[in-house]
Amino acid sequence: MTMVQTLEILNSLKQNLLASRDPDKPRISVCCGTGCRVHGSMDVIEAFRQEIDNRNLSGDIGVVGTGCHGFCEKGPVVVLKPSGIFYQGVAVDDVAEIVAESVLNGTVIDRLTYADPTSGAKIVREEDVPFYRKQQRLVLDLNGDIDPTNIEDYVAFGGYTAVGKALHHMKPEGVIQEVVESGLRGRGGAGFPTGIKWRLCREADGDTKYIICNADEGDPGAYMDRSIMEGNPHRVLEGMIIGAWAIGAHEGYVYIRNEYPLAVENLRIAIAQAQAYGFVGQNILGSGFDFSVHIRPGSGAFVCGEETALMASIEDRIGEPRPRPPYPAESGLWGKPTNINNVETWANVPIVIERGADWYSQIGTEESKGTKIFSLVGNINNTGLVEVPMGTTLSEIIYDIGGGIPGDKECKAVQLGGPSGGCVPREHFDVPIDFQSLQKLGAIMGSGGMVVCDEDTCMVEFARYFMDFVQQESCGKCVPCRLGTKAMLEVLTAITQGEGREGDVAYLEELATQISRSSLCGLGQTAPNPVLSTLRYFRDEYEAHIRDKRCPAHVCRPLIRYSVDADKCTGCGRCLRNCPAEAISGAKKEPHTIDQEKCIRCGSCYELCKFDAIGVE
């Protein structure tokens, strides 16, 4: 441990670390993010350490447990450095062979490499894997290289030099100007220009100011922030130190979901190490600037991702948002000027300061600069984290990076922005992902959750699911959200149960308009979006449910009918035996029938039949 009291000491620490680390020395990078851990990567890394120990090679081969590499579908992911060999689905049984063959001999083990899904060709190196090739990893660049619980890894890769540059070679207003010119916009969903937000806080009256990192990533299906916090929490801290310096704040809070235990743990370790090394605390790098940071775990309330509810929670009150103005920049935590930014926004800051606004603003589009991380999930082959320059099309993400839809199904739509967002149907997949273009389609960028829906998704049920989510998470303070979304949910539920009536759609639209206009906070204001968006592109599905009492995607149980095709049925009895409602009857080797009165539409017979003899409509 080194107390880095000056810029000179930081530079020499970095030099020493680089000098002591041979770039040609083999390193085995094992992904230990939450996803790969569920796949068993902790056993895998333990096996690697054992194997190397057994061979007495601990001094010659490094093993590093990293944060999320991003290619979550293929975990446990192991990458060999410096060769760059990428292995997927690695099991404990593969470890000995990997060490013997690939690490010591340079031989590639075919069965563990990534195979192109169409040609079957093996792709050996990580950078050639299509999932990674089309990405531009600025924020996630070190996730495959560093141990997030070892600050020296981050320093060796240049960590904390941006802080040194800001505190010693730039003035606070200069830092703000750099961020303004970079074009960096908030990554939490609203896309407000970050530099301008900082400036407003800096110019607010008062000596006591706060900064907050909003790590309450609540959109279901979105886990970008989790992976940043797990894999490189120091980058976020570095961004916060720079921001605090620019704004004139001496205290910061990271408000992080308690549903992310590994991220919370890695952040605790990072803060403790940053304190021990002097990057957080008093007189940072000899600049005279003091800054301390606290962790506040969330307590399970989606609404606390809203900035004023978040602050209420830190103040030990219930998470009810309050009206604005005044905005947090003027009056926030305990009434003091406060700047709140999302995790990914903070993580971009050291990059902007280190590389400069000119360089940063070359990436992306006219109005949306830099890269954005998306979590690509749902009915998609390559589930994982994707970091691309703004302006990349949805099509490129889904097909070139995502590898398309599993099971040869058609892609129906992609939901962006979770419960606040809208869906983009297949015909608009050529849309570039940036703040502007998505708005025109009735969608939003959101925080980065990208849920892919195939042809078997019922868009009405999908909208109902989000409204149910909003109802569970609404704080209940204001009438339009508390009662209005309840009314919308009742109508949507009735529709999915075959009890929709003429006039329901018009009522939904009226409620949607008024709720979005008069709700007190962003949760209520955006709650109607999934309904509005599915009505815009999939109105026919609503009409089928209401008029024909039919669910075209065969999802809404009361609207499904299963029946036996007598021509195909062999009378094997498999469905009969397994029917939980005893609704199927028939003699052996005779076509069976389903009693529609008893049938509970569980779909077991449909799943189990080997002869394709169960029809669904």
């Binding site: 219930i318 704080c475 209940g476 009438v479 339009p480 008024q514 206009r517 008069s518 007190l520």
Partner: protein, 227 residues
């Protein structure tokens, strides 16, 4: 002093006022439910919304909390405002169909029948009782509990509040008479909070009063001085 336009009229206002305060000073009516001039505005009922002109088009803002700003252009009864208030009233009626104030409000705003039923509870969660108990009485005896549709006003653990002093401010301030008070033969009960008080006769003047413990101490200390 600042100037802003309300319903086409230029009006003067002191800086720091809200749009509602300015409107009322000038005799312009805006309906409210969760607003009380003795309390910090809360902005939850959304009835007081008005239309504000902004660079990105017209925006609805809650006039009880939104600051009156120099040059602002405000409409208190435009179609956008009326449409919003009507739905707000309809939703309130859906949840509190038997509250007289709500029925009157709904009728006034053009709502006849709610299109959906959301229960029957006179409490509309305006929060006035909680806020009055906290800000004025400073007893903090009751609070908002649970979240979302199941949110309600309650004393801790729904069985009683040590902190309630039986002052009945909550009963007084409630717009829908949702809090039941029983004053019978020297015994006061606020059943919703599990509060039950027996009146005692004052040793000094003989009148009956309610006696939370701290008041007994006050009485004793008064007795020691010439009253």
């Amino acid at each position: 002093m600042i100037t802003l336009s309300i319903d086409g009229r230029d009006v003067e206002a002191t800086e720091g006022s809200t749009i509602l305060e300015v409107a009322r000073e000038h005799g312009i009516e805006i309906p409210t439910l969760c607003y009380h001039e003795a309390l910090e505005p809360y902005g939850s009922c959304r009835l007081c919304v008005v239309e504000l002109e902004t660079r990105r088009g017209p925006l609805l803002v809650a006039s009880c909390v939104y600051p009156a700003e120099e040059g602002a252009v405000v409409k208190t009864n435009s179609e956008m405002v009326r449409d919003s208030r009507r739905i707000t009233a309809e939703l309130l009626l859906s949840a509190a169909p038997n509250a007289r104030v709500i029925r009157e409000l709904a009728t006034k705003l053009g709502v006849t029948e709610p299109r959906v039923g959301l229960g029957d509870n006179n409490c509309i969660l305006c929060g006035l009782c909680v806020r009055a108990c906290r800000e004025i009485v400073r007893a903090d005896a009751i609070s908002l509990v649970n979240r979302g549709f199941t949110k309600e006003v309650s004393a801790p653990f729904e069985i009683g509040s040590n902190a309630c002093i039986g002052c009945t401010t909550c009963v007084f301030v409630c717009p829908t008479a949702a809090i039941k008070l029983e004053d019978v033969l020297g015994n006061r009960s606020v059943h919703d909070w599990g509060s039950d008080f027996e009146a005692t006769a004052c040793k000094i003047c003989g009148d009956h009063y309610l006696a939370p413990e701290f008041a007994v101490e006050t009485e004793q200390s008064l007795g020691e001085r010439d009253v």
